[in-house]
């Protein structure tokens, strides 16, 4: 279980363009509206590789020979609650829907926006209107064209207060209107301009004609979605198995497998066994799974490990409103009491990187020139002494003004890594005269406490499904609980001003410079303890080829898993490196 604030979809507005890419109309760059001001700046691919990555990115997409056919057996961590794209709320839904429903736009492996259902889009000069042109060959499973009306219906459903849409709701917070603007285009207008806005349209659409006259929340399509992607739903046995087959009406990119079978396997240890036993072809591995795989001959015979860094990272939030943690020097001291190098070596066996700021090192906003604070208990002790926290009553715990330095550290039960980091941490704190108690809560209670700011310290992880680095929603003082997601109630006037100006800044380079300045402030203020980013680990059966990893993961990109194929397949090898569209 990863705890996280999702960077992307919770963020209403963002003004950053480093990773935004104007979609070239397929093979025809001139289709874009001339009046539109392109929000162009191709992401710098070098940036992604620039940081000293331990683990390289994998790209097998050009690897011959590709084969067609066979069955891919994937693992789901839980049963999808729905296959209605608008109401989806978790990873299982996304992983299934990716095969069935195309997005309007997609991210490629370098975090650039690329065409999906839309062949192109334009942005109005005021930056508030987005007009998308839908591909003319895009078809639903029943043969009807994917129309602008479908997109309009989808977005209107998202903003409808009677529709629960936990993932997309906040992305469309500032929406003024959405309308069809031609036979193949629609326009969405927003209250404020935002360079990052286009990322909101990494969005699947619903077939409007299947929802007319039915109750949206209980539409039959919610459990039997109409496909417009390369696959369609063949069967769904709740809590057990979902089978997809090729969509005969598929257009655009096709998959290589004939069938995709998803097995619901909640436990990592169980799915590891299933992988080695050959009943699934891939599974996520946790750190212990990685260690096990390395020493397991059975794994070596059948499988390989795929490891990469994504945009997620771990941290220990300190409530800045608490008298214990209101002083930046104290927070710095706590950071210096956490032996992050030892944790990376011992707990992660090297497959992690220490952080100095609130972005993963693969994010362009991260400044590699800002070194993390060192592990230094002696210096930390001096800082605590100077801040007035001394053991004046001789009970072994520091105190100040009659208050002992002791606090509860919340952790979500079920995160092994989180607990291990916390236990290591509080042992070190105890040596420095600080008493911390671990309090593990199950997920629902945990998030409630964290979101409402009702905690002293909490162990968290951040996960991101898009590359938007805007820190405003998570670190600006106006976003403190209960309204915002700045759970630690961090406040620094200079940082506030920088975050505001970054949002206004239209120039990508200059905005990056502001983020780099902010990074230094975050490191020295230590609003939270930035711990590390650990690698994502997957085990794959050797026969599955064509994997492409990216900071957005194996699944958050296009074509992602649709580009995989079966190396042992009986099917015909296809010469062309890119599977092209059309029957």
């Amino acid at each position: 279980m990863r705890l996280a604030a999702s960077l992307s979809r919770v963020c209403p507005a963002a003004l950053f363009s480093a990773a935004v890419f104007l979609v070239p109309a397929c093979g025809d760059g001139s289709r874009g509206n001339r009046a539109a001001r392109p929000v162009v700046r191709p992401a710098n691919p070098a940036r992604i590789r620039a940081s000293p990555a331990l683990l390289g990115y994998l790209d097998e997409s050009g690897l011959p020979p590709r084969r067609e056919g066979g069955t891919l057996r994937r693992r789901l961590i839980g049963d999808p609650a729905t296959l209605n794209a608008v109401m989806q709320s978790g990873a299982p839904e996304q992983e299934v829907l990716q095969y069935v429903s195309r997005n309007i736009l997609d991210f490629d492996s370098r975090m650039r926006l690329v065409p999906g259902l839309a062949e192109s889009y334009t942005v109005s000069p005021d930056g508030r209107s987005f007009t998308f042109t839908i591909r003319k060959d895009a078809r639903w499973e029943d043969g009807s064209p994917v129309s602008p009306a479908d997109a309009v219906f989808t977005i209107r459903s998202i903003v409808d207060p009677k529709v629960p849409s936990p993932v997309f709701k906040s992305v469309f917070d500032g929406l003024l209107s959405v309308e069809a603007s031609g036979d193949h285009s629609f326009t969405a207008r927003f209250r404020e301009p935002s360079a990052y806005r286009a990322m909101a349209f990494v969005l699947p659409v619903l077939p409007a004609h299947r929802f007319s006259g039915v109750d949206f929340l209980h539409a039959p399509g919610n459990r039997a979605p109409l496909a417009n992607g390369p696959y369609r739903l063949a069967s769904w046995r709740a809590q057990d198995e979902i089978v997809l087959e090729r969509n005969p009406r598929a257009w655009g990119e096709r998959g290589h497998f004939d069938r995709i079978v998803f097995k619901v396997l909640p436990e990592d240890a169980v799915s590891y066994r299933a992988l080695v036993g050959g009943t699934v072809d891939e599974t996520r591995l946790d750190t212990s799974g990685r260690e096990r795989a390395r020493s397991d001959r059975a794994f070596a015979d059948c499988c390989r490990m795929v490891e990469y860094y994504d945009l997620g990272w771990n941290y220990i939030a300190l409530n800045n409103k608490s008298p214990l943690f209101s002083n930046p020097a104290v927070r710095r001291a706590l950071t210096m009491l956490l032996d992050r190098a030892g944790i990376v070596r011992g707990l992660f066996r090297g497959s992690a990187r220490i952080l100095s700021g609130p972005w993963a090192p693969d994010s362009p906003a991260y400044d590699p020139a800002v070194p993390p604070l060192p592990f230094n208990p002696r210096a930390a002790s001096a800082l605590l002494d100077a801040a007035g926290w001394r053991d004046s009553n001789g009970d072994g715990t520091r105190d100040r003004g009659g208050r002992e330095f002791s606090f509860d550290l919340l952790v979500s039960s079920g995160t092994t890594t989180g607990r291990q980091i916390d236990e290591t941490f509080i042992a070190e704190l105890a040596r420095a005269g600080i008493r911390a108690r671990i309090r593990s809560l199950e997920w629902a209670s945990f998030t409630e406490r964290v979101d409402s700011g009702n905690f002293e310290a909490a162990s968290l992880a951040w996960s991101a499904s898009d590359p938007n680095p805007d820190p405003y929603p998570y670190w600006h003082s106006s976003q403190s609980p209960p309204q915002g997601l700045n759970s630690q109630s961090y406040r620094n006037d200079q940082a506030d001003r920088l975050m505001e100006s970054a949002r206004r800044e239209q120039n990508g380079e200059r905005r990056l410079a502001i983020y780099h300045r902010l990074h230094r402030i975050f490191r020295d203020d230590a609003p939270v303890i930035f711990v590390a980013t650990s690698s994502q680990k997957f085990g794959f059966r050797n026969r599955v080829r064509g994997l492409v990893t990216s900071p957005l993961g194996l699944f958050g990109i296009w074509p992602g898993p649709i580009g995989w194929w079966d190396a042992d397949g009986q099917g015909q090898a296809v010469a062309s490196p890119a599977a092209r569209s059309g029957p």
Binding site: D286, T424, R437, E442
Partner: protein
Amino acid sequence: MNALLSLAAPAARPRRAIPGSARVALAIVVLLWIVAALSPLASRRAADIRLNERLLAPSRAHLFGTDDLGRDLFARVVAATPISLAIGTTAAAVSVIVGFAIGAVAGWFGGMTDLLLSRAIEVVLCFPVLFLLLALAAFLPPSPATVILAIGLTTWPGDARFARAEILKARDLDYTRAARAAGATTSRILLRHLLPVAAPPLLVSAAFGVGWAILAEAALSFLGVGLPPPMASWGGILAIAPAYIDEAWWIALFPGLALFLTVAAYNLLAEGLRAATTEKVNR
């Protein structure tokens, strides 16, 4: 469930007062409490995290191997002994005391009181135990007291039903009537005359209850709603075992063995107690 076992199974009349197995069990229980008393000696070692010594197999340096943070597993199992024992005995005591009080009152007064209390007993008996435990764990901070309360509160109805039946039987016995005629107060009769009658079976039930409570605590910790780390009962150490079942079997084996041994000892002791007390009563 133990309460049920002692309640529902009328024991056969044994030949000996205390079976040999019970003596062995008693010896084991005494040994466990000695280990618990000595456990502070192991607490430093049990808390010593060494990330470069993770998951070491049992050896001379580490009798039971090391855990996922490089702590000595033997020291941890020893350090967990007083926690598991204390939780087990206290929870069983809570259950027996609450159960006897409620059951005795219901049995003695009868009528409306009995009707109401019997409904209360039934509510808890039919109440989804797991839900109650999770709800309590969510409401109260995870601590030994919470766990004791949660277990005690879910097991008392068995004892209460039992106490009620005993009191019902004894209420109409001659000496109870005599005591009442002599003007003894209700509480005096309950405590001085009826408690001794109900005590031996209650003791048996309590001994079974200890085993049950230790198991329940282990299951709670295993599900992640037990004691907060790094304070660890045997169940708490076991909770990490599934993740390492392939490469570190010792994490599953040794705390589990300790658990098994303790529960078995208490159950055997309870069975021995029952054998001894039923014979006395029957005589």
